[in-house]
């Protein structure tokens, strides 16, 4: 059953590339949209489906070692939503039919990569699918082939490969230390406490690679260029889900379930997290370009998630997962807004785009929702996740970290309001070239994501005790 998450997009990919005349971008769009919605629904109904053991013949042929647990379900849900939104943004912003078709195919490849990343049970397969997602994103980033995109792609490529080198070196040391690369094998090796120096060294190397992939300070060099110069739909994909799955989810999975570590690693992770939060929040102030500002804000929010993972208590991990989901949704919303602005005015420079409050009412409202959620204002969803993280930090006696996280929330609010004021309220004399109306698909995405944020924000206190806190049970 779980294998279908990987096989169905793969079969769709093969079908879409058969040499038939009618398989053009339109058909590809509707089929993929259906697939992504099915993935989102699958998360809710997977335990009710009648056939949880697929036919024996299929099982003999595709013996994938996959595992599905609640964390993977949340990730699949998030992936489904963000990829669906990215598809709609692509429909609205990419002009050529051929490019749309290529985009949809590569989007399917990245979906396969991300789905498999959250379902695998050993480190090397994890690496293979992270790399597949990365390659799909390299090509997607350069799909419009403008000069800045090419530069951003090259930086991302080199840094991503360097991170991969770190991860592979660490893999070699895992083989040396325990001869196994599956999660269960490495977990047993940690519990048996043999070759612990080698294991810790391997974990340290792995951590360096993961920090580069997450895009946290001081390895964040590629993030602003990659997020801001890619094509709008790819920015939504990259900022919304790819960086998080290939970096933060891997960190979360390995450091909570597989590795059994001493305090030092947790402290290092928390330190890097808090440095990211503060540094990126400060850097976001001096940006003129909307997308660059959003990318620094992303680095800052990922810092929150990493801070919570480093803390390590069950409540903190819960806060991390919740913040992961909330940030994926709200950052995607903000990037969709940036896509709308870019489509309307052909520019993302804040000195040029001003005074839009009347012209773009939907964008204005949803922008407010997105920024308030990111800054952590009740009753939106971002508030709950930040609250849980800060409470978890105080519970674990980390008052300094909790205090900094709280203050950084205020900073976040400040730079976002600053931007909101500039773009939507003040009108300057700078020339604005209006390119006409906004496609319906972009408006639909904005409203959908804003509805999710508001819905989760309002509904969370009701399901907090029944559903959310149950999740703590499966993580030790």
């Amino acid at each position: 059953m779980v294998t279908l998450c990987i096989l169905v997009p793969f079969i769709l990919l093969l079908i879409l590339n058969l040499p038939f005349k009618f398989l053009n971008a339109q058909v590809a769009f509707w089929l993929s949209a259906a697939l992504f919605l099915i993935q989102v629904l699958f998360v809710f109904i997977h335990s009710w489906l009648p056939w949880s053991n697929y036919p024996v013949a299929l099982g003999q042929f595709f013996k994938f070692k996959l595992a599905l647990d609640p964390l993977a379900l949340i990730m699949l849900f998030t992936i489904g939503i963000v990829v669906f939104v990215s598809l709609l943004v692509a429909k609205g912003t990419i002009t050529t039919e051929k490019r749309k078709f290529n985009f949809i195919n590569l989007l399917l490849v990245s979906l396969i990569g991300m789905n498999a990343t959250v379902l695998v049970a050993d480190i090397f397969s994890l690496y293979v699918f992270v790399e597949i997602t990365a390659v799909a994103v390299f090509v997607l980033m350069a799909i419009e082939k403008n000069r800045f995109a090419i530069e951003g792609t090259f930086k991302y490529l080199v840094l991503s490969m360097i991170a991969s080198i770190f991860i592979l070196t660490s893999l070699a040391f895992f083989i040396l230390a325990c001869g196994e690369i599956s999660f269960a094998g490495i977990h047993n090796a940690f519990l048996a406490n043999s070759n612990i120096i080698l294991l810790n060294f391997a974990v340290g190397l792995f951590l360096c690679g993961l920090f580069i992939k997450c895009g946290v300070v001081p390895f964040h060099g590629w993030v602003p260029d990659a997020y801001s110069e890619a094509q709008s739909a790819v920015s939504v994909l990259l900022a919304g889900i790819v960086t998080k799955i290939t970096g933060v989810y891997v960190l979360m999975r390995l450091f909570t379930s597989v590795f059994v570590l001493k305090e030092t690693f947790g402290n290092v992770i928390m330190l890097i997290g808090v440095i990211s939060i503060v540094f990126a929040a400060l850097a976001a102030f001096k940006q003129n370009n909307i997308k660059r500002m959003l990318s620094y804000s992303s680095i800052s929010q990922v810092g929150y998630i990493i801070l919570a993972i480093g803390c390590g208590t069950p409540l903190a991990i819960l806060g991390a997962i919740l913040h992961f989901f909330n940030h994926a949704i709200s950052k995607s919303l903000l990037f969709v807004n940036a896509a709308v602005l870019e489509k309307k005015f052909e520019s993302t420079d804040m000195s040029i785009i001003t005074g839009l409050g009347n012209q773009l009412p939907v964008t204005n409202t949803t922008w407010l929702v997105g920024l308030l959620s990111t800054a952590g204002i009740p009753p939106l969803s971002g508030f709950w996740s930040k609250l849980i993280i800060i409470i978890a930090l105080f519970n674990a006696q980390r008052f300094a970290y909790g205090g900094i996280a709280l203050l950084a929330s205020v900073l976040t609010l400040a730079y976002f309001l600053f931007m909101e004021r500039n773009v939507f309220f003040i009108k300057t004399e700078a020339a604005q070239e209006d390119k006409g109306g906004i496609p319906f698909s972009l408006k639909f995405c904005e409203v959908l994501l804003a509805a999710i944020i508001i819905g989760v924000g309002l509904g969370l206190p009701f399901i907090l005790n029944s559903k959310i806190l149950q999740l703590k049970g499966f993580l030790h």
């Binding site: 090419i150 530069e151 090259f154 360097i162 080198i165 893999l171 070699a172 083989i175 690369i181 370009n289």
Partner: protein
Amino acid sequence: MSPDTLELFRYFIIFIVLIFITGVYCILVSFNLIRVLIGLEILIKAVTLLIILAGYVCDRVALAQAIVLTLIVIEIVVMVVAGGVVFWAFKYNKTIDPRRLSNLRG
């Protein structure tokens, strides 16, 4: 582990570290995007050797080879995509000097 194997292992590690240093030096100091890719290739080769060595020492030769085969396929695809990116970078900037590719700031 026999002292002979340990000694061999030690020499292998030393040479692998030296190859890593060469690769990193190449990436840091080169003024040509293609040399950056060559440096990356050198790093990947060092990692390949390290994985095979780990497999040899631990009697996991089969696992190490399976890993290396997949790794080589991934390496080709990444290099092809990187070649494409360098091709377009050259088309736009008429140079593949990374010092001149500072269009993006901040």
